[in-house]
Amino acid sequence: MSAAEVRVPVLLGPVSCIGCTADTRMRVALPVTEVAGEARAFGVFIPIGYGVGWGEANDLGISADRLLFGTPCADDIRLSNLRAHAWQLTVPLLAYSYDVWVKADAATVLVPGASCPSP
């Protein structure tokens, strides 16, 4: 899960900026949206080799970019309730399935006096 293409801070933790102390600039945060990066796969064991599988993986960065499409660049994004999950089901000799994801709640945070990155 990353947000490498986003042009505003996407923050985790209590410190909002360089030189700030915890929570000094926390403001109204709306709306809350869930963002996620996930990978799923289903495979069938075959007698020779490692088996065959099908799956998909999504990068949170894509979701975050879409989330931020209409977000003013003077706002920050704050992530909370970040959770990670890994799980696998195995049917001996037949099949397996795994599900891995990272999810978080994202909210825009007003930053008084903030300026936008130069183009």
Partner: protein, 145 residues
């Protein structure tokens, strides 16, 4: 016993040995002393944003924590892992002011445990979730170390 009955019995046997395992953990950095940004942008106290042109990389953050789970991933111990202490130590050691391009990933190190055949049918069989936080430790170009 007919051939069909044997196949049916075998299928039930395999299904009875089916199992699953894993874990789910809440990731926090509630005691971090530095701003942590998933994007390449971080602001200073005046609200001015700094992107890659405004900061210089002084180090690489890398923190890994693996958390076990039980009862088919329903019970994770502990349910929350805080990464603050390791983040604070690594940023301070590098002389950084912030972490940018933060990334949270789940490694493949628990695949063998979560997918262990037959034994993962038992509720006491442990699973796990290996969480890794990485990012660039940076400081502003115009700041003195």
């Amino acid at each position: 016993m007919t051939t069909g009955a044997r196949w049916l019995l075998g299928a039930f046997g395999i299904l009875a040995l089916s199992g699953c395992a894993g874990a789910r953990v809440n990731v926090t950095a509630d005691r971090a002393r530095y701003p942590l940004s998933f994007s390449p942008v971080v602001r200073d106290a005046s609200g001015r944003p700094y992107d890659a042109r405004g900061w210089v990389k002084v180090g690489w953050l890398d923190v890994r924590k693996t958390t076990p789970g039980f009862v088919y991933s329903a019970l994770t111990v502990p349910p929350t892992r805080d990464f603050s202490e390791e983040i604070n130590a690594q940023v301070a050691a590098a002389g950084g002011e912030a972490v940018v391009d933060l990334s949270v990933t789940i490694g493949g190190g628990c695949g063998w445990l979560n997918g262990f055949p037959i034994l993962n049918a038992l509720p006491v069989w442990p699973g796990c979730v290996p969480v890794r936080l990485t990012g660039d430790i940076v400081r502003r170009r115009n700041s003195s170390p």
